[in-house]
Amino acid sequence: MRPAAALSTPEIMIGTIAPMLAGLRHVAVGASSPIPGSAALLARALSGGRLRVSLLGSEQHNPFTDGGRELFDCAAQGRVDAFFLSGGQIDGAGNINLVSLGDYKSPKVRFPGNFGSSYLYHLIPRVILFREEHSPRTLVSKVDFVSAAGSSPEGEFRPGGPHALVTGLCAFAYDRRRGAFQLASVHPGVSPADVRAATGFDYSTPTDVPVTAALPADELALLRTRVAAEIAETYPAFAKAQWGV
């Protein structure tokens, strides 16, 4: 275990996401999401068991018994409070692209595909975007393909949407009314100017940008022991690389 002082970027991201889940009843985590999964399990540990976590791919943290459709139905029933999405590209309007770069018919790069994003982004109240790589390549002014739209026209049915975007450099809050991001905090050692230089989309910056709060020592210990062991069931390679478990 590395000393508590030296947090890894994933640990900082986990520590940024976990407090966003406090007080919720049910958080679901989709595919390829070890950082959000760890954050959800940390929030669960801190909730005294009141937070229910559904982790796709986990046997231990899977409450579903009605087949592949159940997560989506459950979200539409209003029973999922938070979810996590990423994207090959994310733009300043909160649109995400999980399909391809370049022309759709003859793409330069092809990503796996939309999964459930096109739907869940509209249904789940608190969708937290995450992408460790923070660069003009990933955070763009306009995505090449809108897998799921960040906001919807007034009057359209849209109980869900983006809440925040957490990267390896910072956290943005999403303003649904404006359909745009605002810088919320910068991770230790990162300046607002660093973020600006690495971001391909426009966003607003308050006068004072706080540094992302560090996980309290006891929570960090919990993450590196109990949560590390729990997430290892679903993401063994990640758990091994991060915490050697």
């Binding site: 087949g67 003859s106 796996p112 809108v146």
Partner: protein, 275 residues
């Protein structure tokens, strides 16, 4: 399935799946009939339309690499941890096959519409996605029950010609136990024909077993069953055996090129003796 019908072989099943058929397939973690996929390649199946329920992985990559596929419809192309399926991705990029991008709940909703014999299913979300540009078959209507403007997407029924999967057990009457993998039941209800490979055929009646009956697809929906021990290799079978990550990683490396794929398949899959 007809009561008392004799089990098939995997070769029989591959023979009964016609060229041009649309085939609903589970994702890699939900029970893939890999032996039938290999048999389809052996019999040089052509122009198949593969429907991922809701995503596609190794089955699609093998079939695309072998030239069996015309159309993929899926919410994602993924092998999970080993990465993206190389031959399927290459074929999509090259435009060699038609890719119908979807989103998971739309695939489930389309199958549910077929299950219910209705022409479409309304579905929330999706509005504002470029999916509506590339899926002209998905339409937006105004909710007829709302007094205010309320656009909603309608997904046409997906009625596959065939559902194909691998499961742990069938019983002597041709009922198939699927545990919590209930998307397999949805596939069987929605498809015209359903073919299944199983690890074993148990001399019992799951429909009379109160613990298992609720997790069983009745033989009524099953067109044929073949026994195929380790029939989920190398993607594994939940509850029975895991994916073989060494084989998968080796495959992904080899299949970066068509020649590499051809060699790997010839050596590792097609030269094994069919059941």
């Amino acid at each position: 399935m007809m009561p008392d019908a004799a089990p098939l072989t995997v070769t029989d099943i591959a023979a009964r799946i016609a060229d041009g058929a649309s085939i609903a397939l589970p994702p890699d973690y939900s029970g893939c009939a890999m032996t039938v996929v290999a048999a389809l390649i052996r019999r040089h199946a052509r122009n198949l339309q593969l429907i991922g329920v809701p995503s596609l992985g190794l089955q699609a990559d093998w079939l695309v690499g072998a030239g069996c596929v015309a159309i993929l419809e899926s919410a994602a192309l993924t092998l999970g941890e080993p990465g993206m399926p190389p031959r399927a991705i290459a074929a999509v990029k090259a435009g060699d096959i038609e890719m119908r991008d979807a989103t998971c709940p739309a695939i489930h909703a389309g199958l549910q519409a077929a299950e219910k014999g209705i022409p479409f299913m309304p579905l929330r979300g999706i509005l504002g996605s470029d999916l509506l540009k590339v899926r002209p078959d998905w339409q937006v209507i105004d909710n007829p029950l709302s007094t205010m403007r309320d656009p909603i997407v309608i997904i046409p029924a997906i009625r596959p010609d065939v559902a194909l999967f691998h499961a742990r057990h069938a019983d002597r009457n041709g009922n198939v136990w699927i545990g919590v993998r209930r998307e397999l039941m949805l596939m069987a209800h929605a498809a015209r024909e359903t073919y299944v490979t199983v690890e074993d055929i148990v001399d019992t009646d799951f429909l009379r077993d109160e613990d298992r009956a609720g997790s069983t697809i009745p033989a009524l929906y099953i067109s044929g069953i073949a026994k195929a021990a380790r029939g989920g290799d190398p993607v594994g079978l939940a509850g029975a055996y895991p994916a073989d990550h060494t084989v998968l990683a080796d495959y992904v490396r080899a299949a970066q090129t068509q020649a590499g794929f051809d060699d790997w398949m010839a050596a590792r899959v097609l030269e094994t003796v069919p059941a």
